[in-house]
Subunit: 323 residues, 2 copies
Amino acid sequence: MSKGEFERIADYFAPLAAKFGGAYGLTDDAATIAPGTGRTLVVTTDTIVESVHFIGDETADLIARKLLRVSLSDVAAMGAVPRAYLLNIALRRELSDTWLERFVAGLRQDQEEYNIHLIGGDSVSTSGPIVLTATMFGEVEEGRALRRSGAGPGDGVFVSGTLGDGVLGLRAAKGDLSEAKQDTVAALADRYRLPRPRTALGPSLAGIATAAADVSDGLIADLGHIADASAVGARIEFERLPLSDEARQIVMDRSELLAMAATGGDDYELVFTAPEEKIATLLENWSGVSVTRIGTITADSSVRAVDAHGETLLFPRIGFRHA
Amino acid sequence: MSKGEFERIADYFAPLAAKFGGAYGLTDDAATIAPGTGRTLVVTTDTIVESVHFIGDETADLIARKLLRVSLSDVAAMGAVPRAYLLNIALRRELSDTWLERFVAGLRQDQEEYNIHLIGGDSVSTSGPIVLTATMFGEVEEGRALRRSGAGPGDGVFVSGTLGDGVLGLRAAKGDLSEAKQDTVAALADRYRLPRPRTALGPSLAGIATAAADVSDGLIADLGHIADASAVGARIEFERLPLSDEARQIVMDRSELLAMAATGGDDYELVFTAPEEKIATLLENWSGVSVTRIGTITADSSVRAVDAHGETLLFPRIGFRHA
């Protein structure tokens, strides 16, 4: 690492904090942040480790953007509007300034895309794999934060966007889908590398959805978290799960991959519950990401997926992960 | 690691979050936190790495407590009362549950000592050195957060407690002070391993001190940060620097170590500036840590220490570190 920490903060990170008053140009002992009147702060934090959470061939800008987007997805799942973040980086000494410059370029790009600002952090050296932590702040009207615990029997179960692209994208990125068309592989790999957190939909659901989570562990697992927290069950109609054109192409040839739409993680879509009519009203003037009803909350405690004939499909609940 | 992450959170970490409503038992996508009316949140974050920031022979409970206390010190330096924290841990898989239990016991002990609560975090595996991040939240009346930038010429320069114990304690912990009395070595090593963040003094200074910082990089460096941010200088009277009895014993025999009181880091005392009379009023009813006036803010831009004869002593400004 050719620059000292002080210089690195001034050169690379202070500019990312310039527009947020409470960041004090990253020169103070701490930042200050206060929600608007009648609002509350939402805070979530994620740590990723080299060769565990990123496979190694990503460019540094993509690593930075994925790091932010995973946390942005959690903020969206709480119904909050993102505002600011902290960044903690543990880097190997031999990592080049070029890597860091590209990492910072990725941060800057997504700061602009999501209207967020760096407000603090820490930068240290490690002899081991890179460890990166982002802590994201959002803001939501007091008492309106979406929780996992409010789902009630009869509520519809909805998801945003499409499912399965994350896990198929991981396979694509690893070269495991070599039989598929190049465009398809590229689109899925991109979807894995660069999640699209639903930062517009999430805040629109505050006060409307009865429960919400983001699909990071896989639909069955994340809906399971909602069911557990709400002490209810859910019945999912498998054929309603929304697939992207690319995912559809893949599973047409390899139907054993279809189950991944239900169990694969890393989709960063929102799964939420609400009375059908409330969502219908919301969607009347909605021009954002697609929303699909995929099932219904039930009074028992099991999360089941059924096929077109009403037969129950069995999925292991996999991939628990702390949000 | 014998327990899965989900189980680990439920068993070890959820109990640490039980008393903070907005932590939602660590089962949601994010936590919520709002300051009281007319108050603002202060937030600071620190990352420590095994064999860089802790020397390796510390017990896990001491590592946990030092991690929290370093951040508590930053919150105190902003004049804020600590409230809650996030914890991100990257651990090697082979680390035992015993280690983690002891780590959690340390967290619990300092949660009680400082009346703070865990509200979220992330737990991941790494093949490299342990990387630990604590993000601490405090609360202060709006507009009263202590900054580094308010010092004015003529203000007194004050420090809490004693200086140099941190760096002498590091030497003691490493076995470099073998000629000294055992009690002295033990007391200094303890001071290094377990900082005493000035969480009572800090909030008392809000609205009184014109600038403040904690002594983490060393007095000269941290006062330098205040001077830079305030566009002033400072004149320190070297013989006024408060030393502990233990530090005094060491430097009596090895006077070359005396300079460390001015340049050594890891003291986690507060250095602050204020009109003399305001501090005198504060101290009239003060029964906490000692406060010593060590110098005066000047209109030029240099930070100088002078000896009893008024001769300038030269110190390199060392040890920049992001707060």
